[in-house]
């Protein structure tokens, strides 16, 4: 088990290396440069600007320089915001996004798992249909519709929550719920599907034959099996919330890192793009590792090899 984790962590390094290399060359070979602007800049000034960031060197040289700096933990400076280092930008925005994601995740799990259990235990009743219909609505409502709708109702009509910005728990709820609802819907459906698989399995039958109470069976046996697909789903989804937060953070003007990936790529802010890609990848890989571990706990038949 410990060895398994160690080996997986060791495997992260080459994976990250591949990711960094691919993204470095893709962004560098795309047309345009960070310094193209509406107003003409004299070539001399442009040359100085480029020299400042080392863009005057050959591309391979820049690549190795970047890798070298990366190993030392230096992610470089932003070209769009020259007074900010990429590390600073990330350390300011990431906690916000993580908080937002945490609220969304809790909301998604609360709503999703419970909805799924109701659906599975009362299969084909109106409870089931109701829960699944709600889940469908959750899935079919894009976040950029749900967000403004929630704002309209709770911020601009009932005046319970602010329509955006950040700072207090009141600011976090609307964006969190908006982000989490779609995931709640998926989780509900996956929980229901997974549990229905388990409902008829031998070990549940055995448990029932042993005379265990329904509640114990549900929580200890069925849910454990039923959550397998949910866990698979949750790993990348948690990380996907980072991308999903692009929309949320634009709508609610939340100061997280969500919009940076897109904006930075548009601005050709090379080092910021690389930093965000790296962060995102690292986060995803970690989540995948966690999923594999949890998988092992839930399904003892899977061995850590």
């Amino acid at each position: 088990m410990g060895l398994f984790v160690l080996r997986r962590v060791a495997q992260l390094v080459p994976t990250l290396f591949v990711i960094v290399s691919i993204s470095f060359f893709i962004i560098r070979l795309s047309p345009g440069s960070p310094f193209t602007s509406e107003r003409a800049i004299p070539p001399e000034v442009l040359a100085d600007l480029e020299a400042k960031y080392g863009f005057d060197r050959p591309l391979m040289g820049q690549y190795f320089l970047y890798l070298g700096n990366l190993v030392q933990g230096d992610l470089g400076m932003s070209t769009k915001y020259p007074q900010m280092s990429v590390t600073e930008i990330i350390s300011l925005g990431f906690p916000v996004t993580i908080q937002l994601g945490a609220v969304a995740l809790v909301w998604a799990l609360l709503l999703g798992v419970n909805g799924g259990i109701i659906g599975a235990l009362r299969q084909n009743t109106k409870w089931d249909h109701g829960a699944m219909a709600v889940a469908m609505v959750g899935i079919s409502l894009p976040t950029f519709v749900l967000g403004p709708l929630l704002v309209l109702v709770f911020a601009l009509s009932l005046y319970i929550f602010p329509p955006g910005l950040w700072g207090t728990w009141r600011h976090i709820l609307l964006p969190g719920i908006t982000l989490g609802t779609a995931y709640a819907a998926y989780i509900a459906r996956l929980t229901r599907g997974g549990m229905l698989e388990v409902v008829r399995s031998d070990f549940v039958r055995t448990a029932r034959a042993k005379g265990l109470g329904e509640l114990v069976i549900t929580w200890r046996h069925m849910l454990k099996g039923g959550l397998l697909p949910v866990v698979t789903f949750l790993g990348p989804s948690t990380a996907n919330m980072l991308v999903g937060s692009v929309v949320i953070e634009k709508i609610f003007a939340t100061p997280g890192i969500g919009p940076y990936l897109v904006d930075a790529a548009f601005n050709r802010d090379y080092f910021l793009v690389m930093g965000i890609v790296l962060l995102y990848s690292l986060f995803l890989l970690t989540m995948n590792l966690v999923v594999d571990l949890v998988y092992g706990f839930l399904d003892p038949r899977i061995r850590f090899e």
């Binding site: 990711i19 993204s23 899935i139 698979t232 980072l242 899977i302």
Partner: protein, 373 residues
């Protein structure tokens, strides 16, 4: 040995056909699924033929802008736009002369227009002589001859394009994106997932490492770069969405197969001498198909949503083309002012997704081999 193998193959053959036959029977009994299928067919037919129909009947096209007629609420009536000329201020509005020489006083809306300015008058219903029903419209101007507009049952968007035609057109794009991307991703996903899950060991590690790497690439980043290099094309969206979508299916299938292959019936088949590919095809995939189908029914809407997400960032379908997601995004931006631009595309998408869902559920129940016993 040969006899055992032959016997097992025979058994497989019988079981295999009956699995799909039974499924079909069960599916037909599921009224919700049947009705959903009917609705799906209607939607598909509607989206495919709709734009042609509205053009034939009223002359609407999805991209024709009639700026004089922007953001009109739903109506079954034909409208006529008539040129008018501002005569001068009158009370809180202006007096406008129509081509018949009638002077109409507009209140408030026309604001402070100078004398001689052009202003369009609008008349609801079929053209009749006289002043009745004529009203100056603020956003309209400079119509040189009377223009008749076919009815817009679902209203028009801000640029005066017929919303119904645009929804049909958007439905086409969304269905295409959703179904194609989902089919592609499910096929690749099942293939990779089952091979990885069944073979295990080094192959599994290799494939899953590949999936991991693919996963940890923020695909939005690639889409942005691709789009900036190659321009915005619909096929790029397929590639981008399809290339990412299969990863999840692969993981789910692998997970299923990992637990299924330790099951008794697989051990039994193996001890009977059934070969690997056959076990995967006959035993593992059908048994793992339940979650895959559930996931597939989720993938279609996901793909539609992903496309909408790209549209939100300005990277998806490019105007004047539209997808349902694009229309809804625009509607969400304008819902404070024009409700119909959100409600109608939203309703169509909801119906579409509900239908897809019930069909998916029906298929799932029908295909679940464990329910047979």
């Amino acid at each position: 040995m040969t006899t055992v193998e032959a016997a097992s193959q025979e058994v497989e053959l019988v079981r295999g056909t009956s699995l799909w036959n039974d499924a079909w029977k069960r599916l037909r009994k599921n009224r919700l699924a049947v009705w959903s299928s009917v609705i799906m067919v209607l939607l598909v037919v509607g989206c495919v033929t709709g734009p042609t129909l509205t053009q034939l009947i009223w002359g609407h096209t999805f991209d024709h802008q009639n700026l004089d007629y922007g953001a009109q609420p739903p109506s079954f009536r034909t409208h006529t736009l008539v040129p008018g000329e501002v005569v001068g201020p009158s009370g809180d509005g202006v007096a406008v002369r129509s081509p018949h020489g009638d002077v109409i006083v507009s209140h408030g809306a026309a604001g402070e227009l100078p004398s001689g300015a052009n202003l369009t008058l609008r008349r609801s219903g079929p053209p009749v002589d006289g002043v009745d029903g004529l009203e100056p419209c603020r956003r309209c101007s400079r119509v040189r001859a009377p223009v008749e507009e076919g009815p817009h049952w679902l209203g028009t968007d801000f640029h005066g394009r017929d919303l119904m035609t645009r929804i049909f057109k958007g439905g086409q794009v969304s269905l295409l994106v959703g179904l194609l991307a989902a089919v592609v991703s499910a096929t690749i996903g099942v293939l990779v997932g089952s091979v990885a899950g069944y073979l295990g060991g080094r192959v599994d590690a290799l494939l899953m490492r590949f999936v991991d790497v693919m996963y940890s690439l923020p695909y939005m980043f690639f889409v942005i770069i691709l789009v900036t290099v190659f321009g915005k094309h619909l096929w790029l969206i397929f590639v981008a969405l399809g290339a990412v979508g299969w990863l999840m299916t692969a993981r789910i299938v692998r997970g299923q197969i990992l637990s299924l292959k330790e099951r008794e019936f697989v051990h039994a088949a193996r001890s009977l001498g059934v070969r690997g590919p056959a076990i995967v095809r006959r035993h593992l995939i059908p048994n793992a198909l339940g979650p895959v189908i559930v996931y597939f029914t989720l993938t279609v809407p996901t793909m539609i949503r992903q496309e909408a997400f790209l549209s939100f960032l300005g990277l998806g379908v490019q105007p004047p083309n539209a997808s349902l997601g694009w229309l809804i995004n625009e509607g969400a931006n304008q819902m404070l002012v024009f409700w119909w631009v959100l409600v109608f595309p939203g309703a169509i998408l909801a119906i579409l997704l509900f239908a897809m869902n019930f069909i998916g559920d029906g298929l799932r129940d029908a295909l679940d081999p464990q329910m047979k016993s």
